[in-house]
Subunit: 209 residues, 2 copies
DNA sequence: CCGCCGTTGACCAAATCGGTCAAGACCCCA
DNA sequence: TGGGGTCTTGACCGATTTGGTCAACGGCGG
């Protein structure tokens, strides 16, 4: 790819990346046209092919960038949690989810794009990139749980399952919305918090409420 | 549409409908080609246009049929629950979810197709059909809750929220899988049941465990 | 032998595809 | 004023795909 792309003002890079991710997120690699991406971004198709030699190259770059962005946000979050010494499961989870929503706000197409890219049938992604994502996902839950004080849960509760349930519900919410306006995201976050609060109320021992 | 379509053997109708729904479920109306549908079904494109005058007509018919299928399954389920007099929230919900999974098995593309169709930006669907789906969804939860014995829940539990949380998790599971093999569906169902069991264990009063 | 019915491959004009290219618009430095 | 460099574009290319048509095929009951 043409490295002059990084000389563009940050907002313009974001504009192009977000448009591309949103467009790629709506359909398969083949069905997504460079024209549509350019139109959504409000630039000419020629400009895209000026910075990226291929549709493929643009695609790989986006995936790479998406994972890096996730990783960076994730690491920053871990750092912050270590700094404040937060050990409460639900408090930390809420913090994490808030960060995730901020990411959705800044890069509305990211998650759908990553998911679609991961399950793309034509192998347009190198196995190396695929593995990179696998590693990120596998580590995150484990390292999260390791830092939490799980003794607050009633006997018989599987904290990993709680994480999974809340994550699933978040994915479900994300799946059933299409517009990613600020209010929409706030609504999602409120619903998520309501669910988390319910679980907290009934899964924590009484002395921790 | 050409009504001779209904003279076809049921399996052939299913084959065509399922192929079309799967294909339409993968992308927008515009991006989905009649050719791809025909190829997936293993029939000629000419045959499709023999039974349906348009891509649009095929689309509308599919949506209509999908809603009707949901309604019929739903009504049958209500009937059966009335017959057996089931009033336990989680038992009924599990039954309902099992039925839903059976439907996924028989019509793998249905839910994704309906969701995509509902949020399709180009208004290819008549508002009448849209409204029909809204009515189905609104009624189902209400009439379900009305029949259940909600006194088994601990004080402070909102049963509607429990339904919503479990529905969301199911949607999330459905969103993160792409293959709809029998084993895959079983796996989904097992995970759903595990979550439901957890909620039951901690949201029901002790005397009902 | 006919006529009917489900089915098809070949075909069409039109649109869309990924990608190229020469040139415009704007800047700073001389 | 005149370059030279950078960002950006409209017009254009051949190739592919699009939705949709049509004449004809095979099989089957009468």
């Amino acid at each position: 790819m043409n490295h002059k792309f990084f000389n563009l003002p940050q907002e313009r890079q974001d504009l192009i990346r977000n448009s591309a991710m949103l467009e790629f997120g709506e359909g398969s690699f083949k069905k997504t046209s460079a024209d549509a991406i350019a139109k959504r971004a409000g630039v000419s198709k020629a400009l895209l092919f000026h910075y990226f030699k291929d549709k493929r190259e643009l695609y790989s770059y986006l995936f790479q960038h998406a994972i890096d962005a996730c990783m960076e946000v994730f690491n920053r979050q871990v750092e912050r949690m270590s700094y404040f010494g937060e050990t409460d499961f639900f408090a930390a989870l809420e913090q994490g989810h808030k960060v995730k929503m901020d990411m959705v706000r800044r890069m509305p197409g990211l998650f759908r794009f990553v998911m679609r890219a991961y399950y793309e049938r034509d192998s347009v992604l190198s196995p190396r990139l695929r593995k990179k994502l696998d590693d990120v996902l596998a580590q995150s839950t484990d390292s999260f749980l390791a830092r939490m004080d799980l003794s607050k849960f009633k006997d018989g509760v599987d904290p990993r399952q709680v994480v999974r349930l809340l994550t699933l519900s978040a994915e479900g919410m994300l799946a059933e919305t299409n517009a990613c306006t600020a209010e929409e995201i706030d609504r999602l976050f409120r619903e998520y918090k309501k669910n988390a609060d319910m679980l907290r109320q009934f899964l924590y021992k009484e002395e921790y409420l």
